[in-house]
Amino acid sequence: MSHPSPQAGSQPVIRLTDIVKVFPSKAGPSTVLDGISLTVDRGEIFGIIGRSGAGKSTLVRCINMLERPTSGSVVVDGQEMTALSDAALRKARHRIGMVFQHFNLLSSRTVYDNVAFPLEIAGRSREDIRKAVEPLLDIVGLTDKRDRYPAQLSGGQKQRVGIARALAGDPSVLLCDEATSALDPETTQSILALLKDINRRLGLTIVLITHEMAVVKEIADTVVVLDAGRIVEQGPVFDVFTAPRSEVAQSFVGDLLNHDLPAPVAARLAAAPGADTNPLLRITFTGPAANTPVLGELIAGKGLQANILHGSIDYIQDKPHGVLTVEVLNAAETLAPALEYLSAHGLKGEIVGHVAATRRAAA
């Protein structure tokens, strides 16, 4: 595991095995989920990412049986969900919280009564409900809005009510279905921070589906990339992020990290290396090695003359991931030892192209 979650690495809280979901349609049956197997460990934030139509919404709905899989097994908290009677399923659902893209709050109820709603359904006493709802309103920061109606709240506040409501049944899992997709970037950040805080404080397992890599990058520990009803890639977020193998994952990462050469540099790219070209060296910093003063060492120690063209650094799971592209002016003498030095320090150095030289190395 890349990230130390409160109780990560313990027993799985969700285990899906060979989930297949086929919807009948006019054009014949269409397979939306095609043999999905995955496990979610207790206490982790588990991201499921995919383009629209990839089947991620259906997948998350299979976890609480809002969609019944055509075949396969869904085990939540040790219970085989597909085998439960209607009554037993309702009981099991009390322990699975769900947050929706469009909040789905009852417009006729106040903030307090919306949060109390799942407890009412579970048949809890008025006093029990009060004891549970008040601290939840405090966690999501809406104590002063308890008597407002949803129509009087902003989108971010509505989603906070949605989250408090999902937490009311003291769930063992929180399912988030595009929970931030209807919110502006700033509000998204605050909702993600809230989810992260809840995960840390309560040790609550969170499954979130999204089409935004930024959301996964921000809070998830593990990510599954879904495409056309199949899992095309899965692993710790940092690994998928820094070394995406599948085309879909690469395009998601590409959306977020622009490590491509900027246009003015790209315009100078030469077709082939020649006498009057300089190589472009791209150094990828990942994990702990990102903190070593590599460039200084290369320049001072190895005599590298470098012209920095492009660089960026991102933090994923609080770990730095950076890319630096330099034009090497004195490649003949220094390139080989420089590459050697990089690989010796666990960093990736690669020649990504050659550009027409604007300057030769200083003698």
């Binding site: 609480n64 809002l66 399923l89 309702r90 009981k91 099991a92 659902r93 009390h94 699975i96 769900m98 929706f100 469009h102 789905n104 009852l106 417009s107 006729s108 109820r109 709603f117 799942p118 009412e120 359904i121 579970a122 008597d147 407002r148 109606y149 949803p150 129509a151 009087q152 049944g169 399912l175």
Partner: protein, 224 residues
């Protein structure tokens, strides 16, 4: 206006009020549950039962397509069975109710259908039973629409009740026809129409006010 005329108008108003109130209440008591059944037994809904849905739908449509004046005469045997007579205000209430129930049920059905499906899904995800979804989600969320539906039903009933004269039900419409038309007293006809206008206006306005008060969807941000 002569005192006799005023007395006649008051009596007729009372008869109309009784007919409309009783059949309106029955329309609500039976029509709301019927509307709930029509919605929840439809395809893909929480109590899907297509057989029940189609049979009820057909009965509702058949009742609604029968002209009221024909319905009133056609069910005279039933009326006699229920109230013991086929003539009078009580006898008029039976056909009025039978006409109003499916009318209200269809309007209630429409209001319930407008409840966002996401709310039903959210309640299901929390483990709500179909009964809880009806009682705690569908009805409370549709309440303003249901009130508006019942208001329309009451207004229609006021109109239908004018035909109650055909079975000796009395009421304002009957008064207008007998005195205003058959006895050539246009001022009675005019008075009846004015009273009816005021009555409909009052029902519609109070219905609108109540629906607006119940609707928390447009509540202003300033009001706490």
């Amino acid at each position: 206006m002569s005192p006799q005329l005023v007395a006649l108008l008051l009596d007729a108003l009372k008869e109309t009020a009784v007919m409309v109130a009783v059949s309106g209440a029955l329309a609500a008591i039976v029509g709301i549950p019927l509307g709930v059944i029509l919605v929840t037994t439809a395809r893909g809904h929480i109590l899907q039962n297509l057989a029940v849905n189609r049979v009820l739908g057909a009965i509702v449509n058949a009742t609604r397509s029968t002209p009221f004046i024909i319905l009133m005469v056609a069910i005279i045997p039933l009326t006699r069975m229920i109230v013991g007579t086929s003539i009078g205000t009580a006898a008029a209430i039976v056909p009025l109710s039978i006409a109003a129930i499916p009318f209200a049920a269809r309007l209630v059905e429409t209001s319930l259908r407008e409840v966002d499906h996401g709310l039903i899904e959210a309640a299901q995800a929390m483990g709500a039973s179909p009964y809880q979804i009806i009682a705690k989600v569908l009805l409370p969320e549709a309440w303003p629409g249901i009130v508006a539906s019942l208001t329309i039903t009451l207004v229609s009933l006021i109109g239908y009740s004018a035909m109650a004269g055909a079975v000796g039900g009395g009421g304002l419409g009957d008064l207008g026809i007998r005195y205003g038309y058959q006895r050539f007293q246009p001022e009675v006809m005019l008075a009846v129409v004015v009273v009816l206008i005021v009555l409909v206006q009052a029902v519609q306005t109070s219905g609108d006010l109540l629906a607006r008060k119940l609707n928390k969807r447009n509540i202003s941000k300033e009001k706490a």
